[in-house]
Every structure is written in structure tokens, then in C-alpha cells.
Amino acid sequence: MGCEQHAGAVESEPPVTAPNWGPALRSDSVYKTGQARPAIVEDVAEAVFSARGITKIYEMGEVRVEALRGVDFDLYAGELVVLLGPSGSGKSTLLNILGGLDRPTAGDVNFRGRNLSRARDAELTEYRRAEVGFVFQFYNLIPSLTARENVAIVTEIAKNPMKPEEALALVGLHDRLDHFPSQLSGGQQQRVAIARAIAKRPGVLLCDEPTGALDSATGVVVLEAIDRVNRELGTATAVITHNADIAAMASRVIHVSDGHIGSVEVNAARKSPSEIHW
């Protein structure tokens, strides 16, 4: 019940026409995590996420892996953040925790004032249902459903979704509606995954190595789709990558290594994905 009320509250917010990023992010300053950030950031831009002291320890078989070691992280309305780091740095773990797929071992995560680190499973499910759009490296489409149906499977349970066709048009796939995943190229499959993620008009779009399985040219097309969604819908977006070139399209770039956040850069001007090559 409480969850439904929350979902309703989100709907009433007008994120669609929100500005691209907060005014505080226009500075060129570089600061270390843990240092005091310019006061203006907290005053003016609304934090979608704010995470403090996140630790995550995995017990995998006989191995104990400390994936995150006390991470502080904020994501502001309308911005596109790139989390950059080598594989194994803990960025996927962070993304999973933000997306409500996992809980931190210690620390707090707040999404618009709502504590995710202590939420019950049912609350996390409601949160994902209402607020989160995921894009995965391996697309994770349902193989037995067409592109349109893969989007519909999410819009059917959302409160105020777009039409699946509309979402697919946004990623340039209006002519591939009835193709099954096996009939689509990798890039096309990833764009279906993006359409699926944004069709519910999520509060946040989380992309885990969206171009990891794609060649450069196809990757650019996928990034354009993400960029367009971020600019046109104003959806706060976090993109994980180990590809430093992609960082150019971000409003902020957060370097992650070895379970820590190393440094944060603010890009004065976001590059269009079409200007990016790797």
C-alpha cells in the first residue's frame, strides 16, 4: 500500500521537461570524494540518489570478495553520470545496489528520501517496478518474445508507461517491432533493451556496460539512444563502462577502482556520442 502511494507521488513529478543537469555541475572543478562539495550542489540540484558509506561483501563459494569499501555517491536529477573503472572495480555492484537488485552489507542508500538499504524484498520490487530502468551488457531480452512484446512485458505492469511502439521509436526501431531477439543484431537487441528500460518512464536509467558486447559503430548507435532518452525525457542516467572514451558524453565522470570512488570530473560540455570513437 505504502509502495503504491509512493509510485503515485513519483508520477505527479514532471521529469519529462526537466533541465539536463543542475547548475552546480557547470563548474570545471575536480574534487575528491569525502571532501566537502560546493554547497550550491546540495542547495539547488535535487539528488535522486544519495548513498553513504556503502560496503558490499560477497561470499562466493570459499572466496570472500569485498566489492565495495565505503562508497559515497550522488546522482542528481536529469544528469548523465558515467561510472568508469576496470572490470572488478565494484561498479556493477554499486549499480545493482542503486537499482534495488541487491542490498549493501553496510551503509545507506536513499532514493528521493526513501531508504533502499533497509527495504524489504517487496518494497524493492515495487521500487524497481516504478522507478528503475535497467540496461544490461548482454541485453537479457526474453528470447521467446518479439521486440514489441519484450517492451510490453514491462509496460504491462507500469503505472503510466508509453506505448511499446513509442519507446521503440525513440531508439529508432519502429520498423523492427515484430522481430524476435534472434532476428536482431546485437545493437538492435540492446536498443530494444533500452526501449524496455525507458518505456515505463523510470525515475532513473541504469546501464551496465551497454556497449560491452558491441563493436564501436554499433555501440555509438546505442549510446545515442541513451543520450537521447536522457536529454529528451530528462531521466537521471548512470552508465557503467570500462571504456574511457565513453566518458566524454557524461555530465559527470566518476572513477571507480578497487571498491572505492577515486575521483569525480565534471565535463564542461557533453560530447554527442556521434563524436566518440574507440
Binding site: 563459494g61 537488485l101 541487491d102 517496478r129 526474453i142 521467446s144 518474445l145 514491462v154 505492469i157
Partner: protein, 787 residues
């Protein structure tokens, strides 16, 4: 249709081979249940309807001869609703082109009106015209055995006088649904006829004009028949009453009830086992099937589907299969049930069949299948739901492999890598390996339990007809005769050896338990009829006391050394205390045995005998039978070979038909299980196997890993399955014991070999099907995506 439902149907279609195999398992389980339960229900219902519509009597009493005035006094007994007196005559028949002896029971019909009780269902022709004294109606099984039609002639020897009868109708009566002559266990349709004649001509022929020797009574519903029977005994004693008995002891009803009891036990035991096994397998298969959907479940959860949404989705998936299997099983079960019921009409002479499929039967069969499928689904879903979605989306973390005992034992160093993979994989997931083994073992087990009846019936035949009964021919006298009459029989041409016996109807009592059967007297050192102990060794009859078959001793709860009350229902009807001096093993019937002279002393009669067993010279068989037929004191003669043939055609056929269908359905289940195990193993391991192909393993090498593992599990299952099969068979055996016969637990090597063979062939076919899929494995696709 929602996208989730679309996924449902497409997944079903994609996995159609596997879905079909599961469907077959469910269908077989449901079909067994429906077949057995509906056959049983139908026969009971049919009997009840026949009894009701044709006014089957509640009580019976035979006597020597009484005037009609006695009937008035009988009718005054409280609780008697109506009664009918009649004349019942024993006769010998001569049928054209049939050399074997034929005995008949001729029953009078009122003539002036249809019978009040025990009405006749006329299959063809009409009732006898009381004015035409030679007209007779004959029972259908006898007519069929001899090809008799209305208008045909027939010679009967009644009271020693030969007369020609004309068949005017063919009928069925509720008294003779199981037409069995007194003293025999197995119906002989050709050798025993029921004839109905008008009262007047039969009375005249049998010397009963104006009198009667048999009464049938209808009692008020729900009353205790005992006081009525006691009063009937008092009234009939001066007229040579032979003891009143209720419907429960009426021979056809009693045998029918025994057979129904056995059918009931088979009808519930086998479906219970089959459904149980199908349910277990279904559970295992569904659990693993859902487990292979782990990543899709994770994705749906990542997008905010609740656990309950997913539960509904996968339950729908499973219940659709259950629904399909149930529908198929219902259709097959009804078809089989109808055919089984109709087959029973060959032995049970009902005029019609009311086929009944109760909602309870359907509910039970479908409910158990659905329940086990749901349980399996939920277990997997709970397991999947417990994983955080992020974790579930990853391929499962590498399991903890290690060099296990098996590998050490099998000289690990010399093993190839693929063989090592097989061994480590088995050791890492012992529970899963155990479930697969158990599944295949149950497949073997139900095959054994379906098939072993064949062995059991063969042993019964061997013991009963070969070891125990060494004679070729049994001769019965019309009345107890002096022992010396054996000599005249022995002198007949063709007789090699002859031994006399005495057989009297008797009720055995021990405490509050009693049992009505016959007490047989055997001459000392009888060679033609041997009593056997549990090791099938001949036992000599002690000179005093009674020896019981093991089943009778169990029924009465008596042991050797204890006393037993024996009420003889013949002659002076003595009641005596007799010590039990031994217990013997017999599979067919329930009897007591005594030394012949001891029995004569007990009866306080002279050296009387009821009949004789003989071995004969085969070439003289026909002429000997012809001679016996002409002897007025011979009531009948039964060829042992014929009795065996009758047994094989009736009881053996019933049991074996049942066993055949059970075996057929068990084979289907066996295949379903083995195929599913293999198919699921493939989907669980396709990534790993494709990776190996990428690394340069050949198709054969990759197939070896998967198929080798399956082979190991299948071979491990075989001995276990034979063991479980023996257990289930023992359970079956202990459940199908009746007064009529006990089924021995014996499983021949051939049965075990067949069970093993079916499972191995299923494994081979599955392997071939899996190998095709394995060869088509798309290496790049499998490695590129996680799904």
C-alpha cells in the same frame, strides 16, 4: 493476450518435446487411475443395478422335500417380505458334438407368472410355456459355449431318466452372474449349465410335484438376517433343511464379491503407486525445468515483477501441461476402462454394463498430478525467489569441485579430462544425481511391479495344477458312495491309477471368526493330490485332526495345536471340536483337509466317498469319458487340462490384462522420465558444453561428457529399481490376497530383464534425440548471451 502469457505459450511450444514427455507421464498416471477406478465402479454399479432390477433374493435355503404349507409358516417369520418356493434339480446334460461331461442345475420358474425373486433377463426367445413340458431357458454363457440357439434340442438326465428338452430362450439371472458349479473355484462355461423350466414339468420329472426343495426370500431392508436364518433352519430341519444362508454366502455373489475385492485392491493400489511415481517424477522434472529459467526469472524480477506474479506465471505453465496430460489421461483411461469393463463381462454374466466415471475418480487422479506439479513448481520458485535478482542473473557461481573419493578410487591419474568432468560433476551435486537415479529407478520399479503378475500367475499354475494336483480327471458321485465303488471305476479301460476322496461343506469356527468352505478327506499316502508346505514339499496328513490352508488359518487366527469348531453342513450335520494339526500352502481356494477315515468318523458315517481322482491313458480318454457319462451315479467328471484352460481363460486372463495395461503405461512413464532427465541435463549444461566445443572438443567428445554422465546414472538406477520394484510388488501381493486366491511374490529374471530393457531402450532413444540437439548447439550464440 499479455506479453507474459505469450511467453508462456511460446516457451511451451519451444520445449514441446519435453512438454510432451511430461504430458505422457501425467497422462499415464491419470489413465491408470481412471481405468482401474472406473472399471471397479462400473462393475459394482452394474451388479447393484442388476440385483435391484431383477430382484435378487436376500436369503436362500435348500431342503430335501417340503409341502407348500411350510411356505406359509416361513412367510410369517418377522423380517420376511416375500418368498418363493421352487424346485432345483441336479442333472447331467448331453450336448451334440461335445464329448466331455456336462452337469446342470435346473431351476423351476413359477410358470403362471414371472418369478417374484431372481428374475430373468431374456437375451433372446421367451420364457417356457407351462403347457409344453420340454421347454427350457438356458443361461447365456452355456449357450455361447455350445453355440445353442432357441429351437435347439438338448438331452438331460433328470433323476436317472433321459428326456429331450428344447431351448426356448437364452437368459441371464442375478443368481448366476458368476456361473460356478458347487465345489469348483473356476467357472466352466461349457461344463456347467443353468436351465430354467416351468415348475410343473420339472416337479413331475424330479419327483417334486406339489412339493418344493428350495426357497428364496426377500428380507426387509436393513434387518439383521441372522434371526431369520435361524428360524428358517428350525422350520426346515424336519424337511432335511441344508442350512439357510444369506446373500453373503450365495456362491455367485460371494465369488463375485471376492473378485471385486481383489479388483478394488488392484484398482487402488496400482493407481496409487503409478500416480505416486508420476507425481514424484513430475516434481523432479518441474523443479529442474524451472531451475533452467533462473535467468529469465531474474530479469522479470529486475523489472519489478513480484514473486507472486512469477509464481502465477510458472504455475500456469505447469498447470497447462497438467491439464493437457490429464485430458489425454482421462480420454485414455475412459477408453481403457470401458474395454476392461467389457472384458469382465466375459466372465461376469451381466445383461448390460453401466459405465461409470465418478467425479471423485477424476478429482483424485487429476488432483494428485496437479498437486505434485504445483509443489515442484513452488519449490523451485521459492529457491529462485530467495536469490537476489543480481545474483540470479549471473550464471551460477562455479560450484565447489574437488577430487572426490570416486576419482581416487578409479585411479584419477589415468582418467581423461572428460571422464574426470563426469565424475566430478556427479560428486558435486549428489542430490541431483540421486534424484535422477531415483527417477529412473522408479521407472524400472513400476515396470517390474506391472509385469511380475505374469510370473506369479505362472507359479500359481505350476503349484496348483502340476505340483499339487497330479491327476488327469476328477469324478464326482451324485451322492456319497461306498469306498468300494472305486474298484468298479478302477476297472474301467483307460484308468491307470485311482484314489478316492470325501468332500463335505463345512463351516469352521474359531472364537467369533467363522468361514464357510469345504472339508476334504484324503486317503493316507495320496499320490494324486498332494498337500504342500511353504517349500512346496509334500506333507502327509496326520491320522487325526484338521490341516488348514495357510489362508484359512490366517482368516480364523488359529495355529497348529489349537482347537477349531467344525460344523458339517451335510448328512447328520455334526458339530465337532477338532484340533488343528498342520498348515499347508495353497494359492487357490481356502480349504480344510483331514484323513479320509478320520472324516468318516467325524461324520459318523461308514466308509463313504464323494468322488475320485484318476490318472488315465491318454488314447482312451474319449472312450473313458463316454463310459463315465453313461454311469448314472456319476454326477460329473472334470478333466484337469480343462480346469487349467478355464483358469487361464478367466482369472489368469483378468490379471494379465490388467498387468498388460499397467506395463504399457509404465513403459510410457519410464520413457518420459528418462527423456526428461536427459533433456534437462542438456539445457543445464549447454553453455559449458558449447565452451568446450569452442575450445576444440569434437562433437563426440562433448557428447561423451553428457551422455556418459547419463549412462552412469542410468546404470546406477537399474539395480536400485529392481530392488524398489520388488518392494512395490511385495506391497501389491499383500494387497491382492482374497479367499479365492493368493498371489505369490515371485519375480523371474525375464521380468527384471524386460524392465531393464525398457529403460535402456528409452535411454538410447533419448540419447539419440539429445545428440541431435547437442550437434545443433550454436556455439557463438550460447557464448554471447547469458540466457
Amino acid at each position: 493476450m499479455s506479453a507474459l502469457n505469450r511467453k508462456l505459450f511460446r516457451d511451451l511450444w519451444r520445449m514441446k518435446g519435453q512438454v510432451f514427455a511430461i504430458l505422457l507421464v501425467i497422462a499415464s498416471g491419470v489413465a491408470t487411475a481412471i481405468m482401474s477406478i472406473s472399471t471397479h465402479d462400473s462393475l459394482r454399479l452394474t451388479r447393484a443395478a442388476f440385483y435391484r432390477d431383477y430382484r435378487f433374493a436376500d436369503a436362500f435355503v435348500s431342503l430335501k422335500r417340503a409341502p407348500e404349507s411350510l411356505a406359509v409358516r416361513m412367510a410369517e417369520i418377522p423380517g420376511v417380505q416375500s418368498l418363493e418356493t421352487r424346485v432345483v434339480a441336479a442333472a447331467r446334460l448331453e450336448v451334440e458334438n461335445y464329448s466331455d461331461p456336462v452337469v446342470a442345475r435346473i431351476v423351476s420358474l413359477p410358470g403362471t407368472h414371472p418369478p417374484l425373486l431372481n428374475g430373468l433377463f431374456l437375451r433372446s426367445g421367451r420364457l417356457p410355456d407351462p403347457e409344453r413340458e420340454s421347454e427350457t431357458v438356458i443361461n447365456e454363457s452355456f449357450a455361447q459355449a455350445h453355440g445353442l440357439k432357441p429351437g435347439d434340442g438338448l438331452t438331460a438326465v433328470i433323476n436317472g431318466r433321459r428326456r429331450t428338452l428344447r431351448v426356448c430362450g437364452i437368459a441371464l439371472g442375478p443368481e448366476y452372474i458368476y456361473p460356478i458349479s458347487p465345489g469348483s473355484l473356476i467357472p466352466d462355461f461349457a461344463g456347467y449349465g443353468i436351465l430354467w423350466m416351468a415348475r410343473k414339468p420339472l416337479g413331475v420329472a424330479y419327483g417334486m410335484d406339489g412339493a418344493f426343495n428350495d426357497v428364496t426370500l426377500a428380507l426387509a431392508p436393513g434387518i439383521n438376517p441372522r434371526p431369520v436364518l435361524d428360524r428358517l433352519d428350525e422350520l426346515t430341519r424336519p424337511f432335511g433343511g441344508q442350512g439357510a444362508y444369506s446373500r453373503e454366502d450365495q456362491i455367485s455373489h460371494r465369488y463375485l464379491s471376492e473378485e471385486f475385492k481383489q479388483l478394488e485392491q488392484m484398482a487402488f493400489l496400482f493407481p496409487a503407486i503409478f500416480l505416486g511415481v508420476a507425481a514424484f517424477l513430475l516434481n523432479v522434472v518441474v523443479t529442474r525445468l524451472i531451475a533452467t529459467q533462473r535467468e529469465q526469472i531474474a530479469i522479470l524480477k529486475a523489472f519489478g515483477y513480484r514473486n507472486v506474479d512469477l509464481a502465477v506465471h510458472y504455475l500456469e505453465f505447469v498447470l497447462l501441461i497438467v491439464a493437457g496430460g490429464s485430458a489425454l489421461g482421462l480420454a485414455a483411461g475412459v477408453w481403457l476402462g470401458r474395454n476392461m469393463s467389457e472384458m469382465y463381462l466375459e466372465f461376469y454374466k451381466f445383461p448390460f454394463l453401466i459405465y461409470e466415471l465418478t467425479p471423485e475418480a477424476v478429482g483424485t487422479a487429476v488432483g494428485i498430478s496437479a498437486g505434485s506439479a504445483i509443489a515442484g513448481t513452488l519449490v523451485s520458485l521459492i529457491r529462485a525467489a530467495r536469490l537476489a535478482p543480481a545474483e540470479a542473473m549471473q550464471p551460477a557461481s562455479p560450484g565447489r569441485y574437488h577430487r572426490g573419493l570416486l576419482e581416487v578410487l578409479t585411479f584419477g591419474r589415468r582418467l581423461s579430462q572428460p571422464t574426470r568432468m563426469i565424475i566430478r560433476n556427479l560428486e558435486r551435486r549428489p542430490v541431483k544425481a540421486l534424484l535422477t537415479v531415483t527417477g529412473a529407478a522408479f521407472a524400472v520399479a513400476i515396470l517390474v511391479s506391472g509385469m511380475f503378475f505374469r510370473d506369479a500367475v505362472q507359479l500359481m499354475i505350476d503349484v496348483q495344477f502340476k505340483l499339487s494336483q497330479g491327476y488327469d480327471l476328477t469324478v464326482l458321485f451324485t451322492e456319497p458312495s461306498a469306498q468300494r465303488s472305486v474298484h468298479s471305476l478302477a476297472a474301467l479301460e483307460g484308468v491307470r491309477h485311482i484314489e478316492p476322496f470325501r468332500s463335505v461343506p463345512a463351516r469352521f469356527r474359531a472364537g467369533h471368526r467363522s468361514y464357510l468352505t469345504s472339508l476334504d478327506g484324503h486317503p493316507p499316502g495320496a499320490r494324486l493330490r498332494r498337500l504342500l508346505n511353504e517349500k512346496f514339499e509334500p506333507v502327509t496328513l496326520p491320522p487325526e485332526g484338521v490341516v488348514l490352508t495357510d489362508a484359512l488359518a490366517d482368516l480364523l487366527h488359529v495355529k497348529p495345536g489349537e482347537l477349531l469348531t467344525v460344523e458339517i453342513l451335510e448328512g447328520a450335520r455334526p458339530v465337532r471340536q477338532v484340533p488343528v494339526v498342520g498348515v499347508i500352502r495353497e494359492y487357490v481356494g481356502v480349504f480344510g483337509y483331514m484323513d479320509l477315515s478320520a472324516l468318516n468318523r467325524l461324520m459318523r458315517e461308514g466308509e463313504l466317498i464323494s468322488g475320485a481322482w484318476m490318472t488315465i491313458h491318454r488314447p482312451e480318454e474319449k472312450s473313458l469319458l463316454a463310459r463315465l457319462k453313461e454311469m448314472p451315479r456319476i454326477a460329473g467328471a472334470t478333466m484337469q487340462a480343462k480346469a487349467l484352460a478355464n483358469f487361464e481363460e478367466t482369472m489368469a486372463k483378468q490379471m494379465l490384462t490388467f498387468a498388460f495395461f499397467n506395463t504399457l503405461l509404465a513403459s510410457v512413464i519410464a520413457f518420459g522420465v528418462v527423456f526428461n532427465s536427459a533433456r534437462i541435463a542438456l539445457s543445464e549444461r549447454s553453455r559449458e558444453l558449447a565452451s568446450l566445443r569452442v575450445l576444440g572438443f569434437t562433437r563426440g567428445e562433448v557428447a561423451y561428457i553428457l551422455i556418459g554422465e547419463m549412462a552412469v546414472l542410468t546404470f546406477a538406477a537399474l539395480p536400485l529399481g529392481l530392488l524398489i520394484g520388488r518392494g512395490i510388488s511385495a506391497m501389491a501381493v499383500s494387497n491382492v490376497q482374497t479367499d479365492l486366491f493368493r498371489v505369490p511374490l515371485v519375480i523371474e529374471a525375464g521380468t527384471n530383464a524386460f524392465a531393464v530393457g525398457v529403460v535402456l531402450v528409452s535411454a538410447l532413444i533419448s540419447t539419440w534425440l539429445i545428440k541431435r540437439d547437442l550437434d545443433r548447439l550454436d556455439l557463438v550464440e550460447v557464448l554471447k548471451t547469458k540466457e
